[in-house]
């Protein structure tokens, strides 16, 4: 079943066309990789899905309904979570609070019960803390749970950001270059987590990733963007042997 459907999406910044007539279908429960050279429009695509950018043309449908006119926070509460290419954590909060913030839309208590810290506010804090602790377990970041995230090493911050997205208990998880700047071991850890997210948590994953070896290993389906246009899609095997893809990558000189 198609959980997310992107139809003829076009986005331009002045003269720069970031996305041109992009059409994609994301099936539930799969790992869907989006690859392409720098500037291909991958991050812009994520920004359109999460409502940060408003496309000029086209449609984005989530479980059959258009989410084009929804605000980012509404899209989040529908169950679409994401991480960012450049870490966008709340630097001055500790890990637990960053993860709790991911559960923001699942809280019901307002400012008044917060002020008194009793009843619903207190119960909710404890209930969600428990959920957050599960994510901390899952990502093996117990040791840093009370550390301020700004002080943590880069690789751990990346993991905390993944944790914040997972705390939302999303249905779809968008990962923008989850392994950028990581060494081989850290990359393997992330690959393992992404597979666990798909299999144990049954979350659909859309992943922008430059590590082609990892993509070929774990992705179920791959879309290739170049200069804002989709140039190919298919299984890892089909993509590997697609002459257009090879040309786009070699043409960039990498």
């Amino acid at each position: 079943m198609d959980q997310l459907e992107i139809k003829n999406l076009t986005l331009a910044f002045g003269g720069i066309v970031a996305l041109h007539q992009v059409t994609m279908k994301i099936r539930k429960g799969e790992i869907h990789a989006v690859i392409g050279p720098n500037g291909a429009g991958k991050t812009s695509l994520f920004n359109c899905i999460s409502g940060v950018y408003k496309p000029m043309e086209g449609d984005i449908r989530y479980e059959e309904n258009s989410i084009l006119h929804k605000k980012p926070h509404q899209i989040a509460s529908l169950g679409i979570a994401r991480t960012f290419q450049n870490i966008e954590l709340f630097r001055h909060m500790n890990v637990i609070d960053n993860l709790l913030l991911g559960r923001h839309h699942r809280f019901r208590s307002g400012p008044l019960s917060g002020v008194f810290f009793w009843g619903r506010a207190l119960r909710e804090e404890i209930k969600h803390r428990r959920k957050v602790e599960e994510v901390i377990d899952f990502l093996e970041i117990e040791k840093v749970r009370k550390k301020t995230v700004g002080t943590l090493p880069y690789g751990i911050q990346k993991r905390v950001e993944l944790g914040r997205a997972l705390s939302m208990e999303p249905k779809i998880l968008l990962l923008d270059e989850p392994t950028s700047g990581m060494n081989v071991e850290e990359t393997e850890d992330i690959a393992r987590f992404v597979l666990d997210i798909k299999e144990e948590l049954e979350v659909t994953v859309i992943m922008v990733e430059h590590d082609i070896a990892m993509v070929m290993d774990i992705a179920d389906w791959i879309t290739v963007l170049n200069f804002g246009s989709k140039i190919a899609e298919g299984t890892p095997f089909e993509i590997q042997t697609n002459p257009k893809v090879i040309e786009a990558y070699l043409g960039e000189g990498s």
Binding site: A76, E88, R91, M93, F138, E200
Partner: protein
């Protein structure tokens, strides 16, 4: 999701409790006893200064919520304090409402106007927001002066005395307890607010607003909420001020007051509760300190006689803000943190 068993299941509450160690609780308890018995042995002038400090602490907490926690710069704080003070003055002296109704009304009216100001300010950030809120303060000052049928204009307006079960709080040491109780309640309330859902959303907006939105925070609603709550607290502080002074005048609430509050939270520490308290007390005491130093130097050097005036205090605020911005970005709260780590668990220092 695989749930591995954890031993600290029951301890999540322990983990989020307000005063975590026994010693903190003991110290706070002793400090409160000290404060509670102060009128029995304290100097009336000290009591008067503590009264002013209480008002400043409450208002500074309100401003820190908006600037320090949510990252929305405002120079309209004095205006909201004024709205609270005038609401209390009008309702207490012209309508004759009891003090608790006046205080709630002060908070409520300030909150409603803060809500109204928050909405058009949503699109503004940083300096632009500072300018817009500053203009609001100037406009309000003029309203207070020109709408003299309601506010008394430049003649000012009297505030009726609080009467508690028919017993009037007509001296500094009597109103002291009233101010102290409200201050403690506001401190606890805001502390609770910032460590729960709403506070996290405020901090998230301050640290990374786009990420906060993508994580599910309705930043429009929360920014307006920060404005509203901050104004509510400022309004309460205004009511406290009115009752303490007994008389208010538009000149008590100029831009300079807003800047003083900015100084308090910067000197104390942005985005911290303790910092708001330290900063407020500090800035209230600084003029006294300068006055004391001036008196003392007059004795030593007769040539300095009569040179002291209020302008020195303003210069001192400027200097203090500069010193703290350059040398101690964490404010007094940062210094306190370092002292605390060297004295952890005192008197049991290991």
């Amino acid at each position: 999701m695989v749930i591995r068993s954890k031993t600290f299941r029951e301890s999540y509450y322990e983990d989020i409790k307000l005063f975590q160690t026994v010693w903190i609780r003991v110290w706070i308890f002793l400090f409160l006893i000290l404060l509670a018995t102060l009128p029995l042995w304290g100097n009336p002038y000290v009591i008067y200064l503590i009264n002013l400090s209480c008002i400043a602490v409450v208002a500074a907490l309100g401003l820190n919520l908006l600037i320090g926690y949510t990252g929305q710069i405002s120079l309209a704080h004095a205006a909201f304090i004024a709205i609270g003070a005038y609401t209390t003055a009008i309702l207490s002296s012209k309508v004759g409402l009891p003090f608790w109704a006046c205080l709630f009304a002060s908070g409520g009216v300030a909150a409603a106007i803060g809500f109204g100001l928050g909405i058009p300010c949503l699109r503004l950030k940083g300096l632009y927001l500072a300018m817009a809120t500053m203009s609001f303060g100037v406009v309000l000052e003029n309203v207070l002066i020109t709408w003299d049928k309601l506010t008394g204009g430049v003649r000012g307006i009297n505030v009726a005395k609080i009467s508690l079960f028919g017993y009037p709080l007509d001296s500094d040491s009597k109103i002291y307890y009233f101010l102290l109780v409200i201050t403690v309640l506001v401190i606890l309330g805001i502390k609770n607010l910032v460590r729960t859902r709403v506070g996290r959303a405020f901090i998230a907006i301050r640290d990374r607003d786009i990420a906060a939105e993508v994580m599910g925070v309705n930043i429009t609603a929360y920014k307006v909420m920060a404005f509203t709550i901050s104004s509510f607290v400022a309004g309460i502080a205004g009511g406290m001020y009115g009752y303490t002074m007994g008389y208010i005048h538009p000149e008590h609430f100029t831009l300079l007051l807003s800047i003083q509050y900015l100084a308090m939270i910067i000197v104390g520490g942005l985005g911290t509760i303790l910092g708001s308290i330290f900063g407020a007390v500090f800035i209230i005491l600084v003029p006294e300190l300068i006055k004391g130093i001036a008196r003392f130097s007059e004795l030593l050097i007769p040539a300095l006689k009569g040179k002291y005036n209020e302008e020195w205090n303003i210069a001192a605020f400027g200097l203090l803000i500069m010193i703290f911005l350059i040398f101690e970005a964490g404010g007094l709260h940062g210094i306190w943190g370092r002292i605390k780590t060297s004295f952890k668990n005192w008197p049991y220092t290991y």
